[in-house]
């Protein structure tokens, strides 16, 4: 089967989402890729230079968060890859799933009282359904 892609962003749901993806990779023996999407559309930067700085800082943050996720996987005997993509979350995830011919996408649902502005659209099940329809990839939402 194709690789399992775990979309992560270091929020409140990230740990349980990553753990779920690691367990799935171990069970299936499939490769695991942690994906971070640097989507700066939430901020509406007022200059090109600031937009670039924002994208770069998001990428740095992504690198660090993905490194932590990789260490977490390694500690459980899984050698995971990491990838960063820029752009809107939905489009970037769909493109990446096609690019790596993924079999499964694992997403986390933020709990109550987490981020003010989530990087994912509010209706997560609908979002998952739409990605599945667009790419044919199984989508697991970790609640």
């Amino acid at each position: 089967m194709g690789p399992i892609v775990c979309a992560t962003r270091g929020g409140e749901a990230s740990r349980r989402t990553q753990e779920h993806a690691i367990a799935l990779a171990r069970e299936r023996g499939d490769p695991l890729i942690f994906l971070f999407v640097a989507d700066s559309s939430f901020a509406h930067p007022d200059s090109r230079a600031l937009a670039e700085a924002l994208a770069d800082e998001l990428e740095r943050l992504g690198h660090s968060l993905l490194s932590i996720a990789q260490v977490r996987a390694r500690e459980q005997g899984i050698s995971a890859e990491a990838a960063i993509r820029h752009g809107s979350v939905r489009q970037a995830i769909e493109d990446f799933l096609r690019e790596v011919k993924a079999s499964t996408l694992v997403l986390g649902a933020p709990g109550a009282g987490s981020e003010k502005k989530t990087f994912f659209p509010g209706e997560l099940p609908q979002f998952a359904q739409e990605i599945n329809t667009a790419t044919g990839v199984d989508v697991i939402v970790v609640w």
Partner: protein, 525 residues
């Protein structure tokens, strides 16, 4: 010349006192402005100041920079989110408060209704400096801060307009409701219009330049100029400054480099600190304690009237839009803060001091105004923190506090160990003592590090927060290193500016990311 030097010496002395007070309040749980008033009071017990606090001094010199700074910092999007409650409190709220206070005071102490309504108008402007200072220190929701600051900014202007209208009516001896309403609209909208126009012109100028000295100068001209121009054409100077500040802070700042933005915002924060320090010290020096004691009954009635009116405005008026199906999202806990945090300050005193000499019972109105301002500052200002704590508005997420606590302990342990290593290196610590203490410190550090790991395991959301903060710390260090490099002549001024600007831009980007990912605690009830 001698007089000039005397004034200069007095200002320097007051600033020195203000600095000492600012240092002292870091150790005691008292708002800075409240402490200033108390110290001002103590100063006059010793010796009366040879300095007249005129209403013109407060209104034309101190109020414009204070209002401009607050408006300059106000984000248009946040203002828009809170506009309905802010306008309700600042327009009908001020009018209702004026009438309610006037009515209660008239009934309570037998003052004529026209004079009591003048008092109601002059005491209606809120001055939440002491409250907002706590908001910043305690990390209270920005939305609540915007609601409190926004109300204060606009009601400063509307209260002055209402005051002038009712004062004119009292002096003439008749009041025409339609004319009063038209005057109100003309003065308020005229002031806002002038502010918007001048703010826009200066913002356009600022967009063409990237030099923070010029931009600071232009915003200074704007802050005072908007006030003066508006007053010259007999419209609201304060509302002109409010509009000019909001426009230049939101539109003007768009074209600024991050460095200019930081320098400009720091400049205005300092100007506000400077003006606030002098205003509240001078308020303290103007309080005549024996006179307050003599008039304690009317003052108590006035305090009661102000509190009742405030309660009706905050709890009653903000509830009205929901009757029409409109949602004004101000949680009840915030309304309690709006009620108890409705302190009175510089505007009320300036208006009280500006009452015409020929007005009957003028001295009584003035002493009542001082009494109310003093009560709100000393009574409400000193307890608002307690109220906010009781309402749970100052609570920070437990895991974050726990992480900071362990981090602090870890820093302290490392500093202790490093000092012991220095002592050992200098031969001041015996080998076996050093070894014992070192092992103890290592053990503590190890334990703390394990506790931090455990904390991260239990609260994964801390990961991102820690990464963002660490990156911010690193960027601040980079900024400091660039300043050192400039001082040492390693890099030229233009290279320094360019590099610092890049760091500032990154800091701004991190602030945006932090804002978008900070857990919501107090925004919702």
């Amino acid at each position: 010349m001698d007089e000039f030097l005397a004034v200069e010496s007095l200002v320097i002395l007051l600033l020195l006192v203000a600095s000492i007070v600012a240092i002292a309040v870091r150790r005691i749980r008292l708002p800075y402005t409240v402490a200033l008033v108390l110290v001002g009071l103590l100063i006059t017990f010793e010796q009366e100041l040879a300095f007249e606090v005129t209403p013109e001094l407060i209104l034309a010199l101190f109020v414009p920079p204070l209002v401009f700074e607050a408006a300059f910092h106000l984000e248009l999007s946040q203002l828009r989110d809170n506009l309905i409650p802010i306008l309700i409190l600042a327009v009908p709220g001020v009018v209702l408060s004026t009438l309610l206070v006037g009515g209660i005071v008239s009934l309570g102490i037998g003052l004529s209704l026209s004079l009591a309504v003048i008092f109601g108008a002059l005491i209606s402007a809120t001055d939440p400096v002491a409250v907002v200072a706590f908001f910043r220190a305690l990390g209270v929701s920005r939305r609540l801060a915007v609601a409190v600051e926004g109300e204060s900014l606009f009601n400063d202007g509307t209260a002055i307009v209402v005051y002038n209208i009712v004062l004119a009516a009292a002096l003439v001896g008749s009041f025409d409701l339609v004319k009063g309403l038209l005057d109100f609209l003309w003065i308020a909208l005229g002031g806002l219009g002038i502010g918007v126009a001048l703010g826009w012109v200066v913002s356009r100028l600022i967009a063409q330049i990237d030099d923070y000295f010029i931009e600071i100068t232009l915003t200074t001209v704007l802050a005072f100029g908007a006030y003066l121009v508006a007053e010259q054409v007999h419209v609201s100077g304060v509302l002109a400054v409010v509009a000019a500040g909001i426009i230049s802070g939101n539109i003007g700042s768009r074209g600024m480099s991050p460095t200019t933005k930081i320098v400009l915002f720091n400049f205005w924060e300092y100007v506000a600190f400077f003006a606030n320090s002098l205003v509240f010290l001078l308020i303290g020096t103007k309080v005549n304690v024996p006179q307050l004691v003599t008039h304690i009954v009317p003052i108590m009635v006035a305090v009661g009237a102000v509190l009742i009116a405030r309660a009706i405005v905050v709890y009653g008026l903000l509830w009205l839009p929901s009757l029409r199906g409109q949602r004004v999202h101000i949680p009840m806990s915030w309304r309690h803060v709006l009620f108890w945090g409705g302190l009175r300050g510089a505007i009320s005193l300036a208006l009280a001091l500006s009452l015409p000499r020929q007005l009957p019972q003028r001295d009584l109105l003035e002493v009542m105004a001082f009494g109310v301002v003093l009560f709100t500052l000393l009574g409400q200002g000193t307890t608002i923190r307690f109220v906010m704590e009781r309402l749970g508005l100052t609570k920070r997420p437990g895991p974050i506090v726990a992480r900071e606590r362990r981090l602090g302990q870890l820093y302290a342990a490392q500093a202790g160990l490093s000092r012991l290593a220095e002592l050992r290196h200098d031969g001041l610590l015996a080998g076996d003592v050093w070894a014992a203490l070192r092992d103890e410190y290592h053990e503590t550090s190890h334990l703390l590090a394990e506790e931090m790991s455990q904390l991260f395991a239990e609260h994964p959301d801390l990961e991102r927060e820690v990464l963002l903060r660490a990156r911010q710390e690193a960027l601040h260090a980079e900024r400091g290193a660039l300043s050192d490099a400039l001082r040492q002549g390693l890099i030229a001024e233009d290279v320094y500016r360019q590099l610092v600007s890049e760091v500032d831009r990154r800091l701004e980007a991190l602030a945006l990311i932090s804002e978008a990912t900070t857990p919501a605690r107090t925004d919702e009830e």
